[in-house]
C-alpha cells in the first residue's frame, strides 16, 4: 500500500529526532532508510508503526490519515531489531498470536492452517513446537517475519533485522527476504545502517542525517550524484580530502596527489574520492601499501599511506601489490563540493590535456 509522509517532526526533550521528514512510497515498493545511528531512522519507523507519536506532520497509509490510529489498528507488520519474540510461547503460538487476538477470531483449525502455511513460507515448518530460545538467530528472524505476515499487513517494517546475524547467514537471509518481497508484493520499509544491505535490497534508499532525509534515490544514482557532502562521504567508502580550486583546477597540496580539473569557482572545496577513483601504480612514489583487502581480486583494494593519511585505493591492472612496497597514486576522478554546497564531478587533468591536444590537430 502506498505511504505518504509529510513534514513529520519529533523531539525527545531538547534533542530533535526528526526535523520535517517527507517521503512518498509507492504500492509494492521496497525502500531502505539508511543513516548512522541517531539519524532518526528508527524513530520514523516507530512513528509509522504507531509505537511513537509525532509532534507535527502527517502520515497517510493508502490515503488514510494515521494520526491517532493506535498501533493495534494499523495492520502494519513489524520485524523488530531483536525480534521481540514471545519467549514463553512456542514458534507456533508466536505466529498464531496475531490471529488469536483478533476481534473476529478465526476457528482453531483455520488458525492452525494459516500458521502452518506461514511456517512453510518461511521454510521452518519443523520448528513449530520449539521455543524461541531453542532456535538459531536466523530461525528466530524467520519466525518474526512469519508472525508479522500473519496479520496480512498492509505495510511491512523491518528494523535492522539482520544486525544480530553473522555475516554468512546475513547474506543469504537478505536475498531470501528480497525474494519474498517480490513474491508477496507487500510495501516494505527497511531500516539499516549498512549501505551494502540497503543498496542490495531496496528499490530506493533514503539517506538520513540528523533527523532529515537528505536524499532519496536508487543506489546507483546516490553513488553517481550525491546531493550533499554527507551522502558522498557516507556512501561508497569515499576518502574526504580538503582541496583548493584555482582556475578550474583542484589542488591537494601538501598531499602528494595529482590535481583534478573541475568546474567550480575558486576557493576551498571538499573532495570525495572513492577507492575506484584512486589508482595505485607500481614504482617509486609518495605512497606506501599498508594493507591489501582482497588479494585474490584482479585489481585488489589497497590501504595506502601517503604522508600521515591513509586512504582506500585500487591497485592498477597488472600491479602485484605487497604490504610495505611503495607506489605512486593517480586520480581517475572524484566528486567535489564547493564551500557553498555546489557539486561537480572532477576529471583528471591529463585526459583533458589530451582532448585539447586532439582538437588542436
Amino acid at each position: 500500500m502506498s505511504v505518504h509522509i509529510r513534514d513529520v517532526a519529533r523531539r525527545f526533550g531538547r534533542t530533535a529526532a526528526l526535523e520535517g521528514v517527507s517521503l512518498e512510497i509507492a504500492q509494492g515498493e521496497f525502500v531502505a532508510l539508511l543513516g548512522p545511528s541517531g539519524s532518526g531512522k528508527t524513530t520514523l519507523l516507530r512513528i509509522l508503526a504507531g509505537l511513537e507519536g509525532s509532534d507535527a506532520g502527517v502520515v497517510h497509509i493508502d490515503g488514510e490519515d494515521m494520526t491517532g490510529v493506535p498501533a493495534r489498528e494499523r495492520r502494519i507488520g513489524v520485524v523488530f531489531q531483536h525480534y521481540a519474540l514471545f519467549r514463553h510461547m512456542t514458534v507456533f503460538d508466536n505466529v498464531a498470536f496475531g490471529l488469536q487476538v483478533r476481534r473476529r477470531r478465526p476457528t482453531t483449525a483455520e488458525i492452525a492452517r494459516r500458521v502452518r502455511e506461514l511456517l512453510a513460507l518461511v521454510q521452518i515448518p519443523e520448528l513449530e513446537r520449539r521455543y524461541p530460545e531453542q532456535i538459531s538467530g536466523g530461525q528466530r528472524q524467520r519466525v518474526a517475519l512469519a508472525r508479522a505476515l500473519a496479520i496480512e499487513p498492509r505495510l511491512l517494517l523491518l528494523d535492522e533485522p539482520f544486525g544480530a546475524l553473522d555475516a554468512l547467514v546475513r547474506k543469504d537471509v537478505r536475498r531470501w527476504v528480497r525474494g519474498l518481497h517480490e513474491r508477496l508484493g507487500i510495501t516494505t520499509i527497511l531500516v539499516t545502517h549498512d549501505q551494502e544491505e540497503a543498496m542490495e535490497m531496496a528499490d530506493r534508499v533514503a539517506v538520513m542525517e540528523r533527523g532529515r532525509i537528505v536524499q532519496c534515490a536508487g543506489g546507483e544514482q546516490l553513488l553517481r550524484d550525491p546531493a550533499t557532502p554527507f551522502v558522498a562521504g557516507f556512501l561508497g567508502e569515499a576518502t574526504r580530502l580538503a582541496c583548493e580550486v584555482r582556475g578550474g583546477v583542484a589542488h591537494f597540496d601538501p598531499i602528494a596527489l595529482p590535481a583534478l580539473r573541475v568546474a567550480l569557482p575558486d576557493g576551498p572545496a571538499q573532495a570525495f574520492l572513492r577507492p575506484g577513483d584512486i589508482l595505485a601504480l607500481p614504482g617509486a612514489g609518495a605512497g606506501t601499501v599498508r594493507a591489501v583487502a582482497d588479494p585474490a581480486a584482479e585489481q585488489p583494494r589497497l590501504l595506502v599511506e601517503i604522508g600521515d593519511l591513509r586512504i582506500d585505493a585500487t591497485a592498477a591492472p597488472g600491479m602485484a601489490p605487497a604490504r610495505g612496497t611503495t607506489c605512486r597514486l593517480s586520480l581517475r576522478g572524484g566528486t567535489l563540493f564547493a564551500a557553498d554546497g555546489q557539486r561537480a564531478r572532477a576529471e583528471p587533468l591529463a585526459r583533458v590535456a589530451r582532448l585539447v591536444g586532439d582538437s588542436g590537430m
Binding site: A71, R72, A84, R147, I151
Partner: protein, 281 residues
Amino acid sequence: MSARFRPAHADAPWATLLVAGAAVLVAILLLALPLAAVFVEALRRGLPVAMAAIVEEDSLAAMRLTLLVAAITVPVNLVGGVAAAWAVAKCEFPGKRLLVTLIELPFSVSPVIAGLVFVLIFGAQGWFGGWLQAHDIQVIFALPGLVLATLFVTFPFVARTVMPLMQEQGRDEEEAAATLGASGFQTFWRVTLPNVKWALLAGVLLCNARAMGEFGAVSVVSGHIRGETNTMPLHVEILYNEYQFAGAFAVAALLALLGLITLAAKTMLERAGRRHSRSAT
C-alpha cells in the same frame, strides 16, 4: 605441573573451606538450631499434649484469624504489587523514583511504627476516630486494623520480586503484541503476566509467609482480645507469658511448619521455573 594449576577465578582451597565452613556454622547455629528447638520443645511431652494445645478453642480462633488475614492481604498485595511493578518497569511518569522508594519503605521502617501510625489514624483518639465511631466502624482492635497493618508490612514482597524481571524484559514484546493487534488487556494477560509468572508465584508465597508470621505491626493494632483479635504469633506470645510453654511451643511449631511448607513450595516452584526455562534452552 598442570595438576597444580589453579584457574585465576578459583580461590585457595583453605580459603573456600574457611568461608564456606563459617557460613554453614552460622546458618546451623542461628537458623536451623532454633527452629529445631521449637519442634523439640513442642513435642517434649508427646504429640497428644501438643495436639491438645492446638485444638484448644482460642488457638483455633487464632489460626482462623491468621488464615483470614492472609487470605485478604495476599490477593490485595498480588494485584497492588503487580500494578506497581508494571508501572515502574513499563511506564515513564514523574515521581517514578519516589514510587520505588515508597515500595521499599516497609522494609526499612519498623513494623511497630506502622502499627502505631494506623492507631494514630484510625484509633479512637486518631484523625478519623470520631467519624468512624459515629458510623459504628471499628478499625483498630478489629479485623480491618489487622489487615491494614499486615498489608503495609507485606506490600514490597510481590512488587520487589516481579519488578526487576519486568525491567529486564523491557517493552519489546508488549510493542510487538500491539503491532499484532492485541489490546492492552490482551497484551498484559497473554504476554506480560506469563513472562513473570514464576517470579510472581515466588513473591506471593513470601508475602503469604510474612502475612502469617507478622508480629510487630499486628501486635499494636490487635488489642490482644483472646479468641477475637489474636493471630497465631500473638497467641504464642500470650501463652508464653502465661507460662503455658507446651501450648506456646505447639502453636509456634505449627506456625513454623506453615512457614516451612511455604518455603518448600517456593523452592519447588523455582525449580519448576528453571526446568521450564532450561527445557527452552
